[in-house]
Each structure stands twice: as structure tokens, then as C-alpha cells.
């Protein structure tokens, strides 16, 4: 089955074709079944391939397949070698992890969507886009060179745009007057900015090394001399800017909260579990490069930590259930980038996996709530839904505990590993920021659970009466994800809790695919060696912070009015955060307005100068015609005169020659 890994991105395209061409004629059950089954096939194929991969010896765990040559270019300078890009796919431990997550969680969400989207028009179109997304994401994961990865990168960006703007004629945000289509456009354009930097980095790399294949790049990077550091830092930063766009980090995160305009399964799949993690995956993929460019890595860590903190603060005051989760996603992605930035690539991937489980679960649960309340998304109008939505409530609670980082749920292990690795790599500031962010995470998630499920219902009592639990197609995926959120952490048990044996399965699995920083083997091996009181202190700190956050939120939100009094007391700080630091407004001012002005100038140029020239040609011809037409009087005598003038001219010529 390893030899068939190239089929994995192609099978969902069958669903695209069938649903795209004939979807409208099928019943909803048929459309959904076709779409979900293609993903199931991809998932089973992935499982088979990974199992086969695991049987290979550790040093040889890499299987590459090339489908043909794409761009056979000539010799490039200054690399001095022939540059050729092919349709190369490969399965190695790193891509195996993400592939299983993508296809597995993707399948569950397809199943969920069958029930969730039941009452929507354009049912088939939804699944066409969703399958296309899966195809592109698998291309991204299985790519063996940067250019094929970029194909998937752009493809998922496109699908994100299509799916965010799925309800193209619906308004989205009354405050800013945005429609869903506008939100889709915002996502695409902000992504594009990142993609531009990504492309520049890619081209620079190609020109210097003459290859974009990951394997060849790793060996080239191993032989790169010390003089290459500036170039590698530049490339690293450029690629990271692309990752900021795709994975919503500062300064390109502004599209993710507005991406909540799309249907909830889309938010779960694309903007929580898979697409936004592509940036993290890319950084880990290029670990060889980043390990050789420590300044770039420092920038990655700094931005990751800052984003984690800033987004967490915004999540504390958000009032739309999906937006809370969106800010939470941005914050958790910041955790992942901070981990990668301190050299802890395994921790980053670990958190990516667990986050996929519990964040998808949170979003699907939110979708269940929205579905039950017939479209309400404002948490100020919720409350007391525990009795009405038991399954949703139970799974949501599990996800809450996982994200807060409570032992023994999945989030505890991954978050603890990130914090520990940050500390051991010698970055106390980063560690501090991440700890505060973890506290805020626990706080706002508890706030969310409290305001949605517990306490008294604050909204329309009619709505509460009609609320009912979701159908089986929606609750089964919730259940599966809940189980994964409970046991998912056990693949990466830290040494301190392993009671002597080394149970960190994930670290061993990923080690051959990642390149650690040069001297001292960075954070990973350093942490492995530490089993002492310090370890337990760090674990206790992580748990303590989480517990404190939960308790704080419970205290504040138990009694109505406490929160409001605190907000008023915070005064300007509250206003600042509630308005999201006015970042969108800032961008509008310094980027969009000048851009619109330039566009208008060019439009005027196009209309008056360029079109004007063309029109002038036409008008000139017309005027010339008007003049010439005066000669055609219809009078024979005039024509005779012109005849005569011609004769005179000829005679003159003959006389003077």
C-alpha cells in the first residue's frame, strides 16, 4: 500500500467529480455518502501505508514515489546544477502523523456534516468543496518537494475561500457590515500576502540550492557552510511569513475570526484541525533549515508566544461562541509555533495532533448547540443547555478539560511538553508568556462552558423548549473525538511520568524525520535527560495554572453581575481588548485605504488614458471620415475638377523631373 500513497490525494477528487457533475440530481443521502466514503477510503489507505512504513527499519522510514516530471528547467545559478521539479510524494514519520490526523478527523467531520447541513440548499456543492479541500490537504501533507507542497497550500487556501463564503448571500457581521462573501475574500487576500513571501523564499532556495526536494535540501543544508547563515535566515523568515498567513499568526491572523462566517463543520475541519496547522507542519518539515538559522527560529518563537498571549486575551471577552473558539485556535497555534521556535518540533506536532482532536470536538459541539438553538450564536443568550443536550454537553466538557490541560486528558501532555521544552531550552520569557496564555486559556474556556451549558438560560425561553439533541450522524463523531481527546495524550508521555521507561512514543517516531539544532541537540534531548524535581515542579506549575484559571472563571461567572463589574473596573483595558486592539481598523487605515486610493488612480488611468487613447484612435478615424466625406458631393463637376487636379499634378511631376 505504500506504493499507492499517490492515490490518497486523488481519491477525494472522484467525489469532487461525481458530486460536482451530478450532485444536484442525487438525494442528500447519496451525495453525503459518496463524499464521506471517498475520505474513508483515503483514511484506510493511509492507515495501511503507515503500518507498512512502521515495519521498515528506523533509518529507512521514508518512501518516495514520483508521478512524473513537472518542470524540467535548465541549469540555475548560482546553484550550478540542473533544476527539475517533479510530482513527488513521500511518506515519512512526520507526514504519516499529519496524514492520519487529516484523513481521520476529516472523515469524522464529513460524517457530521451529513447531518448538520441537512436543511441547507446547495448540499452537493458543500461536499464538492469539502472533498476538494481534503484532496489539496493530502497533497500538501504528502508532498516531497516545496513546490508540490505549495500546490496543496494554495489549493487549501482556495477551498477555504470557497467554503467561508459558502452562504454567499448572507450577511455575517452587523458591526462591520461584512457579508460571508467578504469574509471569504478577506481570508484569501490575507493568505495571499503570506503566500507571496512564501514564494519568494521558495525561489531563493531554489536558485541557491538548485532543488526543492526535501530530502535533497536536507543533505544540501547539512553541507552548507557558515557563510550561508544570512541567506538561510532570510529564507526561513520568508517561509515563516507564509506560515503566518496560513496559520493565522501575528500580523496575518485577522482573517481567522471572520472565517467563522462559514458553516461550522468548515470551521472545525479547516480552521482548527487541518489547514491552519499547515504552517506548523511546514516549519517542522524545514527543520533542517531552521536549525541552521537560529535567528529565524527566534523570530518564530517570539511571534508564536506573542500571538498565543494576545489571542487568549481576545478570547476572554468574545461573545460569539465560534469566535471564542477562533481566538482559541489562533492562541493554540501560537503555542505550536513557540514550541517549534525553541527547537521542540516534536512538542509542536504533538500539540497539533491533540489540538486537532479537542478543537474539532469543541467546534462540532458548538455546531450542535447552534443547530439546537436554530442559529443563535451569541453566548449571552445561552445557558442551561446541559439538560437539553446531554451528549453535546458531555463531549464538550471532555474537550474543555483537554484544552485547559487537566491530567490525564490529551491537552495536558502536549501543553506540558511545550512548556517543559521551552524552559529547558533556556527561554524563560517565552515560557512565562505561554504560562500566562495557558491560564487565560483555562479561564476563557471555562467561561464558555459555564455561559453556554450551566446556570440559567438567558435567552428566549421558546428556543430553549424547542432545543433537542442532535441526530446520530452528529453525535457519533462527537463521541469518537471525545475518546481521542481522552487517550490521545498517551502517545507522548514525558519521561518524568514514565516511571523509568521511556514511553514517549511520538518523540521516537518523529526523530528520524526532524533535524535538531547543531550543538547540544537543542531542547529535545536536553529534556529527555532531565528527570528530577525540576520536572515535577514544571508539571505542577502547568496543572496549577490550569486549575487556577478554571476556578477563577467559575467564581466570576457563578453570580451574574460580577463579570460586568469587573469589566467596568478594568475600564480602558477592557475597551481595548473588547475592540480587539483595533487591529482591523489599523489595517484598514494603513493598508486598505492607500490601496483603494491607488486602485482608483489606476482605474482612472485605465479609463481616461488607456481607454482614451483607444477612443482617440477611433475618434480620429471618425473625424477623418467626416472630413473626407465632404469631398463626396455627388456633383460630377467636382469630381471632374479633382480629376483635373490629378492630371496637373502628374504633368507637374513630369515637367520637373
Amino acid at each position: 500500500m505504500l506504493r499507492l500513497i499517490w492515490l490518497i490525494p486523488l481519491i477525494p477528487l472522484v467525489g469532487v467529480a461525481v458530486n460536482g457533475l451530478f450532485g444536484r440530481k442525487f438525494s442528500r443521502v447519496a451525495s453525503g455518502t459518496i463524499a464521506a466514503s471517498t475520505i474513508l477510503v483515503s483514511f484506510l489507505l493511509s492507515v495501511g501505508a503507515v503500518l507498512q512504513l512502521a515495519k521498515l527499519p528506523e533509518e529507512a522510514r521514508r518512501f518516495a514515489v514520483t508521478l512524473g516530471s513537472w518542470m524540467p528547467l535548465g541549469v540555475v545559478e548560482p546553484a550550478g546544477r540542473a533544476f527539475e521539479v517533479g510530482w513527488e510524494f513521500a511518506l515519512d514519520p512526520l507526514s504519516a502523523v499529519l496524514l492520519l490526523v487529516v484523513t481521520g478527523v476529516g472523515f469524522l467531520i464529513h460524517l457530521y456534516s451529513v447531518g448538520y447541513m441537512e436543511h441547507e440548499a446547495d448540499y452537493a456543492r458543500f461536499f464538492v468543496y469539502l472533498n476538494l479541500f481534503m484532496s489539496m490537504m493530502c497533497t500538501l501533507v504528502l508532498a516531497d518537494n516545496l513546490l508540490v507542497l505549495f500546490v496543496g497550500w494554495e489549493g487549501v487556501g482556495l477551498c477555504s475561500y470557497l467554503l467561508i463564503g459558502f452562504f454567499y448571500d448572507r450577511p455575517f457581521d452587523e458591526r462591520s457590515g461584512m457579508s460571508c462573501a467578504d469574509a471569504g475574500r478577506k481570508a484569501f487576500i490575507v493568505n495571499r500576502i503570506g503566500d507571496f513571501a512564501f514564494l519568494l523564499g521558495m525561489l531563493w532556495l531554489a536558485v541557491e540550492f538548485g532543488t526543492l526536494n526535501f530530502h535533497e535540501l536536507s543533505s544540501a543544508l547539512a553541507h552548507a557552510g557558515p557563510g550561508a547563515e544570512a541567506f538561510l535566515t532570510g529564507v526561513g523568515l520568508l517561509l515563516f511569513i507564509g506560515a503566518c498567513g496560513k496559520s493565522a499568526q501575528i500580523p496575518l491572523y485577522v482573517w481567522l475570526p471572520d472565517a467563522m462566517a462559514g458553516p461550522t463543520p468548515v470551521s472545525a475541519l479547516i480552521h482548527a484541525a487541518t489547514m491552519v496547522t499547515a504552517g506548523v507542519y511546514m516549519v517542522c518539515r524545514m527543520s533542517a533549515l531552521y536549525s541552521a538559522a537560529p535567528e529565524a527560529l527566534a523570530v518564530v518563537a517570539a511571534i508564536g508566544a506573542l500571538t498565543a498571549f494576545m489571542a487568549a486575551t481576545m478570547g476572554v471577552l468574545a461573545t460569539d461562541i465560534k469566535k471564542v473558539l477562533a481566538y482559541s485556535t489562533v492562541s493554540q497555534l501560537g503555542f505550536m509555533f513557540a514550541a517549534a521556535g525553541v527547537g521542540a518540533y516534536t512538542a509542536a506536532m504533538f500539540h497539533l495532533v491533540t489540538h486537532a482532536f479537542f478543537k474539532a470536538l469543541l467546534f462540532l459541539g458548538a455546531g450542535s448547540v447552534i443547530h439546537a438553538l436554530h442559529g443563535t450564536q451569541d453566548i449571552r443568550e445561552m445557558g442551561g443547555l446541559r439538560a437539553k443536550l446531554p451528549v453535546t454537553h458531555a463531549t464538550f466538557v471532555i474537550a474543555w478539560l483537554a484544552i485547559a490541560g487537566i491530567f490525564p486528558f490529551a491537552g495536558f501532555f502536549s501543553k506540558d511538553e511545550i512548556l517543559a521544552d521551552a524552559w529547558h531550552a533556556g527561554h524563560p520569557v517565552i515560557w512565562g508568556l505561554l504560562v500566562v496564555s495557558a491560564l487565560l486559556t483555562a479561564f476563557y474556556m471555562t467561561r464558555l462552558v459555564y455561559l453556554v451549558f450551566w446556570g440559567a438560560h438567558r435567552g428566549d425561553p421558546h428556543r430553549l423548549e424547542q432545543a433537542h439533541e442532535s441526530p446520530r450522524t452528529m453525535t457519533v463523531p462527537l463521541g469518537i473525538l471525545a475518546v481521542l481527546s481522552i487517550v490521545g495524550g498517551f502517545i507522548g508521555i514525558p519521561a518524568a511520568l514514565s516511571f523509568g521507561s521511556d514511553l514517549n512514543f511520538l518523540r521516537h517516531w518523529l526523530a528520524p524525520a526532524l533535524t535538531m539544532a547543531g550543538a547540544g541537540h537543542g531542547a529535545e534531548s536536553a529534556a529527555a535527560a532531565h528527570i528530577g524535581a525540576g520536572e515535577y515542579l514544571l508539571i505542577a506549575a502547568a496543572l496549577g495554572v490550569a486549575a487556577f484559571g478554571i476556578l477563577l472563571a467559575m467564581t466570576i461567572y457563578r453570580r451574574p453581575g460580577t463579570a460586568d463589574r469587573l469589566s467596568r473596573a478594568a475600564g480602558p483595558v477592557y475597551t481595548l481588548v473588547r475592540n480587539l486592539y483595533w487591529v482591523d481598523e489599523l489595517y484598514e487605515l494603513i493598508v486598505l485605504r492607500p490601496f483603494y486610493a491607488i486602485s482608483r488612480a489606476f482605474a482612472a488611468l485605465d479609463r481616461w488614458v488607456i481607454d482614451g487613447l483607444v477612443n482617440a484612435a477611433g475618434i480620429t478615424t471618425e473625424l477623418t471620415g467626416q472630413v473626407i466625406k465632404l469631398f463626396q458631393t455627388g456633383l460630377v463637376r467636382n469630381y471632374a475638377l479633382m480629376f483635373l487636379m490629378g492630371v496637373v499634378a502628374v504633368l507637374w511631376y513630369l515637367a520637373t523631373v
Binding site: 455627388g634 456633383l635 463637376r637
Partner: protein, 101 residues
Amino acid sequence: MEPGPQHYLILSAILFALGVAGVLLRRGAITILMSIELMLNAANLVFITFARQFDHIEGQIYVFFIITLAAAEAAVGLAIVIALFRLRESTDVDALRLLKW
């Protein structure tokens, strides 16, 4: 002073010019035809002059043919004028503006 070829040539040039002026400035179809006859005669004079000058009888032969031709042309031309007169009830050439834009 004996009249030499220049004198005859100047005379023909003037007659020819008068004929052209007549074609351009007159409005009646038949008067235009008459002006054309004037031009032909001027040409005839030139031919005869040069026949005399170079002692070539061919010049006179050409005039013979030109006169014959002029007769044929006058006949057909007048027939056309008659046909046009039936169309427009006048011989005014300004009445025939069919080629106007």
C-alpha cells in the same frame, strides 16, 4: 513675323484650357459636351501642327480618326443626355446627385 509652331501651340493650349474651364463651370449637360468638343479640337490642332513641323503625315491620319471618334462620341453622349432628361426632366448635371454620401 511668321507664325511658328509655338504660336499654334499657345493657341491650342488656350483653347484646351477654355474647354476644360467649360467642363468644370457649366451646368448644362449639352454645353459640357460642347466644351469637350472644344478640347478635342485643340488636340487636333496640336497634331496638325506637329505633322507640319516634322513632315510626318501620321499626324493628319490621327486627326482623321479623332474626328471620326468625336462624331461617334457625340452621338452616344447625346443619346445618354436624352435618356437622363427622361429621368430628371432637366439637363442640369447638379440634378444627378446619386453619388452623394
